[in-house]
Every structure is written in C-alpha cells, then in structure tokens.
Amino acid sequence: MPDEELSLLRRIATADRKAFETLYHLYYRRLFAYLFKLTRRGELVEEVLNDVMFAVWTSAARFDGRSRPSTWIFGIAYHKAMKALSRQAAGGGRANAGDDEGREPEEPATGEGPESLLARREVASTLGRALGELSPEHRAVVELTYYSELSYGEIAEIVGCPVNTVKTRMFHARRRLKELLPAFGIGSHTG
C-alpha cells in the first residue's frame, strides 16, 4: 500500500509519532532482512536499522514523493549500511580484518555468533557464503534484484548510481557467483 505509506510519511513530516511507530512496524522485518543481506553482519543490523528509522523521522519532510516511499527508505538504508561497513572496515574491522587465514566463513568472527535465525540459516549455506564473498555494492544489486524483486531503475535510485552501473554490477556479480558456486547448480547450465 504505497498510498498508505505516503500518508504515513507526510504525517511523520509533521512529527506524528503514531504514524512513525506504524511505519516502523510496517518496515521492521523488511529492513532487518534487507540490512542483514546488505551487510551480512548481524551485529550491525539493529544499530543501522535504528539509524535508518531515525533518518526517516528527521528527513520525512524532505521526501518529495517522486519515488515510492519504499525506494526512498531503502535508499537511506543502503547508504547507512555502506557507511556502517566502511566505518567498521576503517576501525580495523572489529574482528574479521587480518585473519583471512583459517577464517570460518560460517561464523562471523565477532565473538557473538550469528545474530538471528536469518543470519544463522543463511550464513551457513553455500549460497550465503558465496554472497558474502561479493563486494557490498555487488551483493546489494543481487539482493535487491532477486530478494526485493526491484526493477533496475529502482535499484539505481536506491544505490544512487546510473542504470548502466547497476547492470554492469549485476553482470560481474553473476560471473563471480558462478565461479563461487560450481557445485550449487548455478553455472551448470552455461559453459
């Protein structure tokens, strides 16, 4: 119901807390899954999700209605997620940096263990590991296409790049995934 979401955003722009809570509940699970998929760091998700919703509160008045509310919110989430990842990388990458040798991809080396059911199930899978090997930018395009089922135009809006860049990223991501997933079945059709 984009219309409902639009009116919620309009009300949030007037500091309507009830509308904000409604939108929060409407988006929580979607954002949680999305942020996990973008970052693959369970321990980041909660914090980034709150950052995203906080930004929705503070900038709802600037939403111009040219894109769908979900595109706008997912765009905020994309940028917050990328920022969190680069912050983490710059900060010595809490625990992952520098221990490529003997690293267990199934277990994010944060000392906390995988964060959620989602994390646990997916990180453990072959596909999850392969996706984890992609750069965040490439992974985002793959997830936004296949998980969120968005058009390349919407993805371009969300990640803030030209449409051709989206297609190119996807092209390279698919090639990389085929290298990583020979046993998965993916890539078995093409030579």
Binding site: S125, T145, Y152
Partner: protein
C-alpha cells in the same frame, strides 16, 4: 569486414539482452524489453541457459531469507528516546522547551504499548516528570530524560513480557563451573547466557534487569560477579541476540554473552 560488423552488432545485442535477464526473471521489465528478451532468447542458447541459472538463483535467494525477527520493544523504545533527545535539542535551539511535553507524550506511548493493567499504574508516576524536567537546568534535564527513556525501555519490555507465554515450569538447568566453557544444560525452552554485572549494580537493579528479560538465575554469582541466566528461547521468545544486545546497553551490565556450546533450544 561486413561480416565482422554484423557479428559485433549481434554480440552487442546479445550482451544487452543478457544483462536484462535478472530483471526478466524478477518480472520487473517493461513490456517492450520483456518481449525483446523473449525474442532474442528463443534463438540464443547462452541466454536460455542464463535464464535457467537466473531462475535458480532467484529461487535460492528468495528461499534463503524469509525469517527476520519481529521488532524488540526495547529497540523501538530506544529509537523513540533518541527522537526525544533530538526534538528536545531542536526545541531548545528554537528557544522553546518542548521536552516536558515530549516526556509526558512518551509516558503515553509506554501506556499504549503496555496493553496491560500492570503497566498502566507505574507509568502514571511519570506525569510528574515533566514538571520536574521543567524546573531543572538543561544539562541535568538531558540526564533525566535519558533516565526516563531507560525506564520506559524497561517498562515496555516488561509489558511485552506480560504478553509472552510463561516459562515452562521445568526445574532450572544443571550447570558446571561458571568460568569454564563446558556445556551448560538448559531447561527446555530456555537458553543459558552469562551475565556480569558492574560493581556498583544494586541487587534491586539486577532483579529489575533480570525481570526485564524474564531471566532466571541458574547459578552465580561467581567471584567476579558473573551469573548464568536462563532466558526464554525458541518459538515465541525473543531472539537471544536481541536480549543480549539489550543487556549490553544497560550501564549495570559489564558483559553478556551466550554460554558457549550450550545445548538449549535456542534458535
């Protein structure tokens, strides 16, 4: 020469179509593009294979991620508290004091979330908070608002706990020593976590924190003040990681972690 140009053009066309395949598969292409993919793929084995691959990938990714948790009330409470801070600062910047209004509005929020008789009473006490804030210097006010936010966060957790099913009446777990990482058996429907409280934490506050997570001490405190606490786990319970994240944000909690190798029904 002419042949090459035709081949190059065909290859460019192929690449153009090939790049569209993911969005053909996810059903978001415009009609004209959709048709051009179908027409080209009909005579292009590479694109046919890619279509099969892309469908497989789409199905795998779709199937991989259906289970995100529901929002933890503490998380929303924390976000609302942050919004309060933000609004209060803005108001202060604009020369008006809206903090008191915000604070009592929040108490209202807590009530609404609460949904429960038990909660309504304690929260009523917050009505006076606004007046108190009004007559307090700004710096102090922020501290008080933070305190209020923390209490509200806790209150909403408690409220949420009231709705959750009660812990199974099974006797608590068998345990080994606190310091060892030896497996700690957990009662059905619970997961053991290890919690270390800060030195200054009062017994009342510890109890309050444990009530907030429906935790039951199975052993402790150790010489350094660590407890093993059984928290609800499994279907209907909150993900243990969110409980841990919540605990870690309490100033009285020095650390909170899973008990390694625990064989509980943790999800």
């Amino acid at each position: 020469m002419g042949m090459e140009t035709i081949a190059a053009r065909a290859e460019r066309q192929h690449r153009r179509i090939f790049e569209l395949i993911p969005w053909y598969v996810n059903g978001t292409l415009a009609a004209a593009e959709r048709r051009s993919v179908e027409e080209h793929a009909a005579g292009c084995p590479r694109c046919q294979a890619e279509l099969a691959d892309a469908r497989e990938m789409a199905a795998a990714i779709q199937g991989a991620g259906e289970a995100a948790p529901s929002p933890h009330p503490a998380q929303l409470a924390r976000l609302l508290a942050r919004i309060d801070d933000h609004e209060a600062e803005r108001a202060a910047g604009a020369g008006t004091n809206r903090l008191a209004a915000t604070a009592s509005a929040d108490a209202g929020n807590g009530n609404r979330n609460g949904n429960g008789v038990t909660l309504a009473r304690p929260l009523r006490g917050f009505a006076g908070f606004g007046a108190l804030l009004d007559s307090t210097p700004r710096r102090m006010r922020q501290l008080l608002a933070a305190e209020l936010a923390a209490v509200l966060a806790l209150a909403s957790i408690v409220a949420w706990q009231l709705r959750a099913p009660a812990l199974p009446a099974t006797p608590p777990a068998v345990y080994r020593t606190l310091s060892s990482d030896a497996p700690v058996a957990a009662a059905p429907g619970t997961a053991p976590i290890r919690v270390l409280f800060a030195e200054g934490a009062t017994a009342a506050r510890i109890q309050q924190i444990l009530a907030g997570i429906r935790g039951q001490i199975t052993t402790g405190p150790s010489p350094i003040g660590a407890y093993v606490v059984a928290v609800p786990a499994g279907p209907g319970a909150d993900p243990v990681d969110l409980v841990l994240a919540h605990l870690r944000k309490q100033p009285e909690v020095s650390f909170a972690e899973r008990v390694a190798g625990a064989g509980g029904t943790d999800r």
